[in-house]
Amino acid sequence: MKDKISTLQIFSLCWQIILSSAIGIITYITIFTVKQDGWISIIISCILGLIPIILYLYLMKFRPEMNFMELNEYLFGKIFGKILNSIIVILIASYIILYFYDLTNFITSQYLHKTPNIFVIFIFIIPIIYLLLQGLNVIGRTSFILFIFGLILLILTIMGLIGQVDINNFKPVLENSFGDIFNTSLTIIPYTSLPLIMLLCIPHKNIIDANKLNKRVIIAYLMSFIILLLALIFVISVLGPELALLYQFPEFHVLKRVSIGGFIERVESTLSLRWIFYMFTTVVFGLYFIMQYVKTTFQVRKKNILNFIVIIISIILLMASNWIFKSNTQSNAMILKVIPIFLSVISLGTIIIMFIRIKTKRY
């Protein structure tokens, strides 16, 4: 039961993994590169991003009793499989470091601007490790609860901003060339659909109502993109592209304009909690993927040893977020140029190799 998860919980995981990049990453990329035309990039990336999602779902079903690591060893043999798994773990570690840096940077730049990063990191390390040690079932349930809280905050946000939308801010349409818009959509995919590779660490047989998996993952994917689109629409239409470009987290600043019925105001800190939930869940699930890697690859059977290794890895990765990115100028440059290529090559490359291997039956 400890390693079981329902499709509703997977739904909430997908939702949060995709939306964890909504603040500080997707909006930044779209506004910085194509300003008011960003909505077109998001729609294109939603369509293109479906391809890896379908591949992930296919791989999950291929050998229901195996997780991603076991499947790789089955397809490519022990040595090459382990190498491939290690490469993917580097990819997942990159996601964890990036998202955790984004989370702590958001908190220290917007809420607690005089608080040292390391203090915020320490506060998050405790619940993250606690959840990891509790197993998949608890992670799934926590994710679902946070998803519900996030949904309520999202509805309040929509209610508070819908009256302030100015469609004129989306004009002129197609001011940027289609090439730029398309490039932006390619830059978005590594932060939206590709991170869902984390789901592959759950063996298909551990999913309680597995027959609904495909449907729920696709719905979660599409709905998350609608929310991404809405976030961008609110940022551009309420703040305008010029102002949105100035802010470090325009998604947070647009929340300062929320007014519900003229009496619910100044609630941006509460409403922005949902991004913290999303990034927190993604980091926890990413570390769970690494935990499964350690367990499978190094055949660690003793629970205490596994827990100890996971705690050490978690602390190192979470602290590394503070060491790797010296400033958000550096992280922004990497988000735009380096990380998307790195993430795309590794995750898409691996998945395609696996798919070809299965189709050619060379295992």
Partner: protein, 398 residues
């Protein structure tokens, strides 16, 4: 063992869940509701109006303001802020900032150099009013006490809101929107100007609040016209109304028209301006349709108001007055300042990108000043108030 683990965890958590890092007690905060920026000898003088000052706490009554203004000087706004802070025992807290006042002299040098500090500061909410001081230092406005409001900053903020609804001689511009307009292509910002009427020095004293006639008061009746971030000059009362009408930013407007050798007045509500830009031989032409609902509020001449033809004539008089006002505003922007404060360039940019690319470089200097206008004003005079007739006409009939 499990209990011990829980106890250790709770013990460890107690160290990190005590509250925020660097927290401040409310008593240690100087709640700042107004900021004024002046320039003197190439240095910025920044004034903070602290709303929770303790002076007169023991014997204060409702009319006395517990406010204090601190001033700091520096080469940058942040240096002036630090200088100001060294004189103030509390930590300025700007989340409740209501208004920022920039002096005319500072605005004429360009406001871009001043706006960064407050935009960058995470404590600042960026949703406060920004106004200019005219013919006076910005700090003097923050120091002018009002018998009707507890804080001068609140006095300015409430004046802005009431003026927008009743007189339309003000631009309700929030800080972030103002900066957005500076950054936009094809539109220049405008800001309301505040003047002090009366004895400026006496108005700073609490003694003036005890008199039934305040020694001085603030007046918001003009608009400052910018090109990019530089203040070029001012619009008068009528031009200000015209600018607001063209920018669709009016609540109600009181319109006066000549009536024999006297005046008649109408309150205009639901004033809307629809703008259309057409290109004739690649030359843009602006078509404006101004519609308003009028109510006759005063008429001091002899007119038979029960005659429909007379009503039609009165309506025409108001329409031509409104047309004059609008024309004077356009003339001011086109010829005197060459500044597109109506955002026609922005409209072309948004709706006709290809044309904008060809006009962009010459817009401010050549194209906008030579824009042709086709203005259509329509007022529906639907109410005459409680009287059917005019006093003059009634006396004549008797």
């Amino acid at each position: 063992m499990k209990k011990a683990k829980i106890l250790v965890t709770i013990f460890l958590l107690s160290f990190i869940l005590t509250g925020c890092w660097n927290y401040h007690e409310l008593n240690d905060l100087a709640i700042t509701t107004g900021i004024a920026i002046d320039v003197k000898d190439d240095k910025y003088i920044v004034s903070y109006m602290i709303a929770n000052a303790k002076k007169n706490e023991s014997d204060s009554n409702n009319s006395e303001a517990n406010t204090v203004v601190y001033k700091g000087e520096g080469n940058s706004i942040s240096a002036a802020y630090i200088d100001l802070n060294s004189k103030n025992p509390k930590v300025p807290y700007i989340s409740h900032l209501e208004v920022i006042i920039i002096s005319e002299d500072a605005a004429r040098q360009g406001v871009n150099k001043m706006v960064d500090f407050l935009m960058r500061n995470p404590e600042s909410r960026k949703e406060f009013y920004v106004v200019l001081s005219k013919n006076t230092e910005a700090s003097a406005i923050l120091e002018t006490l009002s018998p009707l409001e507890a804080f001068p900053s609140e006095n300015v903020a409430k004046n802005i809101v009431s003026n927008q609804n009743d007189q339309s001689t003000i631009v309700v511009e929030q800080y972030s929107d103002f900066i957005s307009k500076i950054l936009k292509e094809g539109v220049n910002p405008v800001l309301s100007g505040i003047e002090i009427e009366g004895d400026e020095e006496a108005g700073k004293s609490e003694e003036s609040l005890k008199s039934s006639t305040p020694s001085s008061s603030i007046k918001i009746d003009t608009i400052g016209i910018f090109k990019d971030d530089i203040l070029l000059g001012w619009a008068n009362h009528n031009e200000t109304i015209g600018i607001n009408i063209l920018n669709n930013e009016v609540g109600s407007v009181l319109l006066e028209a000549k009536c024999d050798d006297q005046y008649m007045a109408s309150t205009l509500t639901n004033v809307t301006t629809s703008t259309d830009i057409v290109f004739e031989n690649d030359i843009p032409k602006v078509s404006l349709k101004i519609n308003a609902e009028g109510a006759l509020v005063e008429i001091n001449c002899k007119r038979n108001l029960e005659d429909e033809k007379v009503i039609e004539e009165i309506k025409k008089d108001f329409e031509s007055t409104l047309l004059e006002i609008v024309n004077s505003s356009i003339n001011l922007a086109q010829n005197e300042y060459k500044s597109d404060i109506f955002g026609y360039g922005d409209m072309i940019h948004k709706n006709n990108l290809e044309k904008w690319k060809t006009l962009k470089d010459s817009w401010d200097e050549t194209t906008f000043p030579n824009l042709e206008f086709d203005i259509n004003v329509k007022i529906s005079l639907s109410s005459k108030g409680s009287f059917e007739q005019t006093i003059m006409e009634a006396k004549n009939e008797r």
